[in-house]
Symmetry: C2
Subunit: 225 residues, 2 copies
Amino acid sequence: MSKCEQCIIKQFNSLKSLTKDELIRISACKTSKTIKKGTILFDEGDTINGVYCVKDGICKLSKLSENGKDQIVKMVVKGQLIGQRSLVSDQSSNLQATALNDMEVCFIPKSEIIADLQKNPKFSYDMLQDMARDLKEADNIIVNMAQKSVRQRLAETLIYIHESFGTNPDGTLSVLLSREDFANIVGTATESAIRVLSQFKKDGMISTQGKHIKIENLNDLKRIE
Amino acid sequence: MSKCEQCIIKQFNSLKSLTKDELIRISACKTSKTIKKGTILFDEGDTINGVYCVKDGICKLSKLSENGKDQIVKMVVKGQLIGQRSLVSDQSSNLQATALNDMEVCFIPKSEIIADLQKNPKFSYDMLQDMARDLKEADNIIVNMAQKSVRQRLAETLIYIHESFGTNPDGTLSVLLSREDFANIVGTATESAIRVLSQFKKDGMISTQGKHIKIENLNDLKRIE
DNA sequence: TTTTAAATATGATAATTGTCATGTTTTATC
DNA sequence: GATAAAACATGACAATTATCATATTTAAAA
């Protein structure tokens, strides 16, 4: 099992601000896990009792609406932490976390990290900055949801995934999502998402081979209104 | 000018976690301001250079969408801070702040408070908890925007204002909003907001006298789907 | 108070999006 | 590889919401 104090993944999140001693202590009680694609890490209402540090893979954070549809609120990739909000506010999770592909994660128990948060100002300030970033992002999503069309939102989602998570060697988006996932990000019916994607394809902005999507004309996609 | 160390407003925000010495220092350089209804405290893109502590009044935080419409993202009332996110991430504001009625605020310069944030773990932990609360709230709004109808969102907005900000002696909502404001909270056209409110009135769930709205049947309003 | 501007209200119509039905393709499992 | 299940796709139609036009009311200014 790898040691936190030597792990390079922490450079991408607030764990980098822990002291060497703190890291050694955490390393001793963390758990490494392999999580299969499709597995639910935790559900809405679950008491998480710690944070996950994502070493590899991608995960979606979603919330069930009263109408029975899932809304994807955030996607978490390698380097990021999951469960920070619940840790800080000492509440059960308000989101469900589901692995979108096979994942490697480390689980750090709450008991080992909460004291550091209250004692190490650099660490809590760092987490504060993380959360500030999330909050800004969430505000932007609210505005998009409220004011933009499904067509626009879907185009922006494709661009976001393309630019944030990159592409495979063949140019297809590296994050493989079902049409239902796209609908749940955009906040629309699955059929509507499928229809819009089909239209994008007809217009030559994307190409598809099964679930794999390739952006063919980024500029046109960016110009959609 | 009142002293921070004696001010009771700070009980409602993270400033309560500052030490007496820190408060005295901040008190010496803070500015008290009276802000007239309708005044823009700061605009999108402005460098705020500090935080506002709201001593009285209400303020809306909004963001201009590309289609030219304002989206109200949050309402801030007595006791809360404004500008925390920009302070923490050291960025210009991504939101516009506008007074919804006459306000009393104190402005604390960034230079006086940022060091405390990095040195006083209790203070930063407290602000972290504030931001965690905001983030949870924002996630809920995303889900509502994405999955609920205008009718539902408007009903929930009325209930939210009723329960969070209270009513005047005559039972009308204490926060006075224009129909356009309601539209900008819900994320719809002003005409649509007006239409839905008219329908609520016809159905006996609310009554109106000019801009003043009174909830007449909270249960029916809560049951809207 | 009169005048003017702004906010509220409502109708008509178009555009967007959701729902249900049904067929096709892809993927998983035996 | 055959079979079943899931995911994808598309048509038809209904519901929701936006837009434009135009009154009417309310608030503000002269």
